[in-house]
């Protein structure tokens, strides 16, 4: 039953997107082959998939920890940006440092930036009763405008006529894992973070606190648990994970920030987290699926008339299928007394 529950939504989504392909007069079989080729056809495809999976995975894990605590963080995008922006500010202020630890320091700085940004929303919900759903949306706008101002002003590389910050020197970039592709060591972080978060959520008392406060905050309080503190802490960790994604993008792939920094990974992380069943290990699977689809859809755009719009449609269909399938399975298991 558990297996079926995990697989069924993907299967339904696949069927539905097959129909979608037919509408656009593309053979579903051929389209699937094109997507699969682009996602895993060769080492470059695999590298692309892993690079796209990483921010989805880290932000998805961030969503898991906040949502499990009952704090509905939808500001993963803003926290990712905050992480990259703080890295760029530190670089501008302090320059490049020597040593192999430098790029990892930028990843850490990214995490701290995200944690700080998310803590604003966490504090507002825990101590002032402002729902995180509202505050995180607004904070997304704030950080985006802050980013645009920074790259058009104080952080802009004077030698460039475009809104981009100074480029990190190669020694400050995350090491490559592969000579030919762009695959960098940052992709390891997400795959290490997932089991670590699982351990925290299911094997530590703080993790129990988080899940219990999310399941029934009133009961957590009656059991003398510091619910507000738990909410704030889970939001800080959530922001830390999203900010880490920003740090990895900055010190791994981009090397500089600009007006195009926002790629919506933080928003896409929400369906990724939900499809993963708000479980850290489930999120690994759904992030890989989404990452592969994004990588594969580049091919789809080239070879079919449907383009990447199909991927967007696929996400929506997959999410609906997931929610609907899970609700149906629950209804059938239904409570009969």
């Amino acid at each position: 039953m558990l297996r079926l529950r995990a697989v069924a939504p993907y299967a339904v989504a696949l069927l539905a997107s097959g129909l979608l392909f037919l509408v656009f007069r593309v053979s579903p079989v051929q389209a699937s082959a094109v997507v699969a080729e682009g996602a895993a056809g060769d080492r470059f495809a695999v590298a692309r998939t892993l690079l796209k999976t990483t921010p989805l995975l880290l932000c998805g894990l961030g969503m898991v920890v906040a949502w499990r605590a009952g704090v509905y963080n939808i500001g993963g995008e803003g926290q990712l940006l905050a992480g990259a922006v703080l890295g760029a500010i530190v670089f501008q202020a302090g320059g490049a440092f020597a040593g192999a630890a430098t790029p990892w320091l930028f990843v850490l700085i990214g995490g701290l930036g995200g944690a700080l940004w998310a803590s604003i929303a966490g504090w507002l919900q825990a101590y002032r009763g402002v729902p995180a759903v509202i505050s995180t949306i607004l904070l997304n706008f704030v950080i985006l405008q802050l980013l645009l101002w920074l790259v058009n002003g104080p952080l802009q590389d004077p030698s460039l006529g475009v809104p981009l910050s100074r480029r990190l020197p190669d020694v400050a970039m995350l090491p490559r894992l592969d000579r030919q592709s762009d695959l960098h060591a940052g992709v390891l972080i997400g795959f290490l973070a997932a089991p670590a978060l699982w351990l925290v959520l299911y094997r530590t008392f703080w993790g129990l606190d988080v899940r219990f406060a999310g399941a029934n905050p009133e009961a957590a309080r009656a059991n003398r648990r510091p619910v507000r503190w738990i909410q704030l802490g889970s939001m800080a960790l959530s922001g830390f994970l999203c900010g880490t994604a920003g740090g990895v993008e900055y010190a791994g792939s981009l090397g500089q920030i600009g007006s195009g920094l926002s790629q919506n990974w933080g928003f896409l992380a929400i369906p990724v987290a939900l499809l993963g069943g708000l479980d850290p290990l489930g999120v690994v699977v759904s992030a890989l699926v989404f990452g592969g689809l994004y990588a594969g859809s580049d091919n789809l755009m080239r070879f079919t008339p449907a383009g990447s719009a199909l991927v967007t449609a696929f996400q929506a269909v997959a999410l609906l299928a997931f929610v609907a399938t899970r609700a149906e399975l629950r209804r059938r298991e239904g409570s009969a007394t």
Binding site: R203, T204, F205, W206, F212, N216, A219, A222, N223, R224
Partner: protein, 484 residues
Amino acid sequence: MPAGLSVRSLRKRFGQLLALDGVSVDFAPGEVHAVVGENGAGKSTLVSHLAGFLLPDEGEILWDGSPLPSGDPLACRRLGISMVHQHFTLVDALTVLENVALASGLGGTVDRRVFEAKIGELLRRYGWELDVHARVDSLSVGQKQKLEILKALWRDGKVLILDEPTATLSDGEVDELFRLLRDLAARGMTVILIAHKLREVLAVADRITVLRSGRLVRTVARSEADEQALSRWMVGEVPPMEVAQIPPRAEPRIVIRDLRVKDDDGRLRVQGVSLEVRPGEIVGITGVDGNGQLELAEAVVGIRRPEAGEVLIDGISVGRHTEEIGYVPQDRHRHGLALSMTISENVLVGLRGRRRFFRGPILLVGRFHSHVQGLVERFGIACRGPNQIVRDLSGGNQQKVVLARALEPFPRVLVAVDPTRGLDVRATMAVHNALLSAARGGAAVLLISGSREEVAALAHRASRISLGRLEPWETPAREDLVLC
């Protein structure tokens, strides 16, 4: 064929569990018919069939001699069969009028004045007091129940089914409800109710059906039954109640001085309470719900900051002691448990001295699992194991999880609010024995309960709470009490 509802050889299975095993009962017009039995005896399953919520596996249900449209609650409602559930199905943010309109099933547009006049007429006919423009969240529990019954009567009701209607009512409200049910029966309705308290059953019912483990034990007229006989039919043998012993004189462990506490809306609900509880002593507070019990309990366990006054545990302010206090909150669903989580997780979250189950920050799963396994056995929690989701347990077993957490390891202070609300005879006995053994073990026990019988039977001293103040209360003689 008899008029009214008849059940013939009804059989219903849920997975492994045979919930009803060949039950036959007749429910006649003009009678109040009580269905009694322990948790899990099949009471709710039986009445859910009558209201069309379940399809029988075998057997039949007849309505005035023809088959009932089983499995179709709307069709049953159209026939005049309505059910009032234990947990209210009301919209808090809407008024009484709007809730009735919502349930009336009227489509299209509704003329508010005509509707209002019709409700007014209905209320007058039964002589009820209910402000139709009041929002539901401003109503008392008793008034909400009236509203539920009003919804059921709207469509010319012929059969009214109530699932444990008295579980959350005060004694006064219970009396009023029973007058109302008698009145409805006198007008020719069939009133079917599930109840736990046998004294109440004998006060209101014309006939009583006793179920045990899904089987019909017997259906008897009220004159043929008394409490001893009913509980014997329900559970077999009932073990005798232990009597509380007077504790030795000692320094008070809980000292409450001139305590004033506000509720979430800023209203002063506890208005100057002073109290002492010594180790080994059970001090009772009884009274009608909503007189400051919740706020008092929360201040004593340290989760609600008092406006004035203080709570001392062994001479130290309660804020530093919260982890050493066992707490059985009034509403186990709202305040006690996370229903979507396991027994283990619900125990661990409030466990005192939990450090021994951790190495550094990591939970020692095996060691903790066997600890909870031990609790399950000691407290007799009927479950598949420590990893079962709490929602799937019966009410009595859920309460045992709350108790196991509060009592193990032994607390120095135990605060219990309505610890047996909604429990059957056997589970009530288990809870009472647990409270007594906590006191014998040296805990200072504060028992806050709406049940006067419970307080009188267990407490060494007791008072009554009214509008946030304690009043002296004359404990009734023990011989006059019936507990269940």
